[in-house]
Each structure stands twice: as structure tokens, then as C-alpha cells.
Amino acid sequence: MAGKNWSLITKGFFKENPTFVLVLGMCPTLATTTSALNGLEMGLATLFVLVLSNIVISLISPVVPDKVHIPVYIVVIATFVTVLQLLMQAYTPAAYRTLGLFIPLIVVNCIILGRAEAFACKHNCWESALDGIGIGLGFTASLTVIGIVREILGSGSVFGWKFIAGDGILAFVMAPGAFMVLGYLLVLFNKIAKK
């Protein structure tokens, strides 16, 4: 049993890594990884919504009629996202300012609805919570890695600590850099995962 719980968490990092294997949730992945800290914050925000929505959906899915399950799930997810948005505005205004628009956009992050549909509605509450933690941490780790690479190349710093004077390679802070870094990391990840 312990082994099964553990594998529910670790699969988010390797076997079902949302960014590098499932390739889901690309919008926040590309847009918010301009620095390591931004990527980390976005990952944690998604983790929060994912765990709570997985728990609630696994509890209510047996009584939800099939034809309305998507609207019901979306309402649940949207509620948690709005709760998160209000909490961030109140207690972490600086993080809210940098992530801004991308917090409400967690509603349409396909990872969350994807996990609800593929996992939470068929499993119990405990397993769904673990699945949420696993996938959420995997997403957080991936975003942070992309953020670190883009920050090193684009701004010459890591987590805001500058190791070169002046600017890095600007393109990496902007959208084209996001695609390039994501592409190379995808290749690297899949090469390592195959071994």
C-alpha cells in the first residue's frame, strides 16, 4: 500500500510528468517561466487548485449525472481558482502582481480538468489527493527548471541572484526563448527517461 501511494506521487515527476511527458498546460508553462521564482510560484498555485479539485471531484463524481459532469467540474475548479486568487491578493500581493492574469487562467489549464476526468472521477478521495500532489509537484518542478534555465540565459541570475553584470540573452526572457528552452528540455528529458 505504501509503495502504491509513493508511486502515485512519483509518477508526476517521471512517468506522467505533465510538462515533459503529457505535454499539458503549455500556456502557463511558456508564459510564466521568465524566472525561476515565477515558475515556482505558478507551479505551487496550480498544485493548490489541483489537489483541492481532485479531492472534491472524487467525492462528488458518483452522484453527478454524466451529461453535466464537465460543467460541474469546471464550476468546482473555477471556485478554487477564485479562492486562490483572493487569498493571494490578500496575503502575497507581490506574487499576485507578477503572475496576474495567469492565476484566473488556471481554470482552463488542461492538467486540472485532465486529472479530474482521467483520474479523480474513477478513484477514491485519498488516491486523488495523492495524484494531485504528485502531478502538481511534477508541474512545479518542471516550471522551476524551465524558469532556472531561462533566467540563467536571459538575465544572468538564479532566483534573483545575479552572477553576471548587465544583461543576458534577451530572447530567452521573451516568448521565443520559452519555446526553445521547452523544446530542448523535452528532448533531454525523454532521452534520460528512455534509459
Binding site: P65, D66, V68, D167
Partner: protein, 181 residues
Amino acid sequence: MAAKNSILSMALCLTAVCLVCGAVLGSVYAVTKSPIEEAAAAEARAAIAEVLPEGGTISEAMQADGMEYYCSLADSSVVAYAVKSSTGGFGGLLTLMVGVLPDGSIWNTKVLSHSETPGLGAKCTSDPGFIAQWKGFKGNFAVRKDGGDVDAITASTITSRAYAKAVAQASELVLSLNKED
């Protein structure tokens, strides 16, 4: 009890879910309302304090020409103004807090919000040379390319122009306020 997939049970299910979610949102909103307002007010106070000379009591917000401003009072006379000034930047609205002395010269400036390009225009919040030139700025509020005295950020002339325009707006407002007195 109606069958699980009948119209009635679908409607009931959606209604119940929406009611519960609405109640949750309402209560979270009520709980976070005052912390959110406090956080916003603290941020505004910090921005005002940063652009004004030290000492002086800061007044309530006032309106003129569609801009919001605050007075810094010492011995019941106004020693400086903090003006919230917005212009269109390269990527959207650029909003500054500008500290202006009564003669229209600039004490200090601070970006409140912007949507400029990261690494280019967004440097208006971090470029040390660009920020420092605004302390005690006097002269023509136009970038050097347009014959003014503002050193633009490299490769971000549009942002620099917008920034200069926002500062100029604030300065003009203060001059017009003093003319009326």
C-alpha cells in the same frame, strides 16, 4: 427520485453545486476583503513615501484633471505632491507615482504597474541609470532623440517616451494647481 440522467436531476445537481460554490466564494471574499484592502493601501502608502521628501504629513487622495494626487504637508503648507499618472506604454497602460515639488521639478518616480516587454521596456523598473535621472529632474520632458533631456532606455524608446510623458503630466498638474492658488 428521478433517474440519474433526467433533466430534473441534472438541473438539481448543477444548482446544488453552484449554490455551494457561491457560498464558499462569498465567505472567502468576506474573510479576505479587509486584508486585500490593507495590502493595496500599504502598497500605495509605500509608493507615496518613496517618491516624496521625508517628513511631512500625507493628505487624503484628491482628484484633478482626472489624476489622483496626494499632498505632503509641513506646517500647514504643501511641500510636495505625489501624483498618480498613467500613459499608454508599449504594451499597455504605464502607471507611475511621481513626486513633484511645488515649482514643478521632480523629486522621485516609481512605477506602480506596467505591461512592457520583459528585458526591454520592463527595465524602466530596474535600469539604475534611467531611474536615477528622475531624482531632481529639471528640464525638457522628452527623450534625447526628440530633442529633450531624458536619457532613454536602450532599445526601449517608446517606453521611455511614455514614462517621460507621464512624469511631464504630473509636473504640469502641480504647476496648474499652484497657479490657481
